[in-house]
Symmetry: C2
Subunit: 309 residues, 2 copies
């Protein structure tokens, strides 16, 4: 394990991360809390199949029952009928089985969830005045999950979020200066250096990024320069699902709360699709909030060993 | 209280915030936890006066004893001797009295702390290769505080943090387009609209910003266009201290963890000094982390009523 602090600048863009390893890295065990939380919500769970269950906007069936289902968010911050907070919020229920974690699902089941994401992103993007769709998962109370039944969320926005804008401008600048895609170049760099790669097959590569802004951060990228989840072949999606299962299983085993995000290219741009996992085990202090500079106790090389171990 | 969601764009820059009021806003009471935490650390507290106490880098005395004291951070992520993580970390011990909260201090005592910040910022900025100094406070475990004895932190960096860069570029753009200082214009706008102002005297104005990215966010600004804390007159610093005491007392009473930050102008720029308070009562989910767009349950107009109430 690396012991000496180190500041790293992201491969493109202007973000710095301070890596400052800590002696005791063992995450706080939250099994009992989480188990209680899951039990508490089991009765009258909104997301469980029941005679009065929520009407689906979209669903995928298997053996005559739904396998993955999309419903309206019952308590949305945004809606299509509020001009002051215009937007669309949906929930993807990952499985009908309460208590089954995302990482317990088969790669084929996870691929089906990715198919559902792609279909809903496309559909929500077609709504009037929607200019960005964000898909994300909160796993664990510390990562913002309020209902324990495995689910993901989709938010359609009228505006382009700040992080997307920043990332896109940085990628455009890179394209202009180097004549190539930053993420394609990152893949080649990671393949050459090897020590941060966690998973690789014919279709995708998954690695802990050089200047990761959270412990155990992981990026999953298609090797081919694809713009959006929709453009990935079924084989590529299955590979993404396999990498995702591997990573979330490890995080789950150590009870590390996490988020993941689907980042399609912005419309009218030609940027590489990426799926990003962020762990939520450290509390940000005033320094992180005030400066945007993250102090990360886990070097990505050590995080890669954790995933491969 | 405002009940309907609303999206707001910051006055300058490109950040959006979604205001989505929640029915139950009562913060989670953490008094017992915090009281236990304070008690636990009372014996052998690093920051309490003792025969073996830490050597001061800088201190202000009163009645023959130290009143505010600056020491080296014993567990720094950065140091002047590590070229891979170059920087300087200091701790400002706000008071010799364990258990006395920042908000319990007199305005004059808080002004003395501001004097200490100004002196240390100046001194650290003079070190070789230091290009930015960040002063911040973490109050409460959820805001990142690990030691309960009231203290603030200072970090000197070789690089300009991302948030500062973004803010500075946005202010420069505003200067170029409008020919005036964005923060001066914000002060005039807030004075005209009144409903977000919490504190005002001859020297400073404190208000909950229009597109605040945390519940109960508050900005304290000198009315005069001053660049840095160092340039504020003793009277202006006392006014900042009074506003700070008022705000932190209210947050403390409701047990809301908070951070505050000192934002001087970057060197070679002519930008308005600001002190920003951010509360830490809500957990960010995948949406916030992935998109940078914050869902804030408290409108700034309601936050202003909270501070004034």
């Amino acid at each position: 394990m690396k012991k000496i602090s180190e500041i790293r600048k992201s491969f493109f863009g202007d973000k710095y991360v301070i890596f400052a390893p800590k002696r005791s890295l063992r995450p706080h065990k939250i099994s009992e809390e989480e188990a209680k939380r899951k039990e508490q919500f089991k009765e009258n769970c909104f997301f469980c199949p029941s005679p009065n269950e929520e009407r689906a906007i979209y669903q995928i069936d298997a053996s005559g029952k739904w396998l993955v289902k999309v419903v309206e968010n019952k308590f949305p911050a945004l809606s299509l009928s509020n001009p002051k907070a215009y937007g669309k919020q949906e929930i993807v229920i990952d499985t009908p089985n309460h208590g089954e974690d995302f990482c317990d699902l088969s790669p084929e089941h996870i691929r089906t969830i990715l198919d559902v994401y792609a279909a809903r992103i496309k559909s929500i993007n077609e709504l009037e005045n929607i200019n960005y769709v964000q898909v994300f998962k909160n796993d664990g109370g510390k990562a913002g999950a309020s209902i324990p039944h495995a689910h993901s969320q989709i938010i359609g926005l009228e505006f382009i979020p700040h992080h997307m804008m920043t990332d896109t401008l940085a990628m455009d600048k890179y394209f202009c200066e180097k004549g190539s895609c930053a993420y394609c170049d990152i893949i080649h760099k990671e393949q050459k250096e090897k020590e941060r790669i966690v998973f690789e097959d014919a279709n995708v590569v998954a690695f802990c990024p050089w200047a990761s802004s959270s412990p155990f951060a992981l990026w999953i990228l298609p090797k081919a320069h694809k713009n959006k989840l929709e453009d990935l072949t079924p084989e590529e999606r299955l590979s993404v699902a396999e990498a995702l299962k591997l990573a979330t299983s490890k995080l789950d085993k150590e009870e590390i709360p996490y988020n993941f995000f689907i980042h399609d290219s912005l419309p009218h741009n030609d940027h590489h699709f990426r799926l990003k996992i962020a762990s939520r085990m450290n509390v940000w202090g005033g320094f992180e909030i005030g400066s945007g500079v993250i102090i990360n106790p886990v070097f990505p090389e050590d995080a890669a060993m954790f995933y491969k171990g």
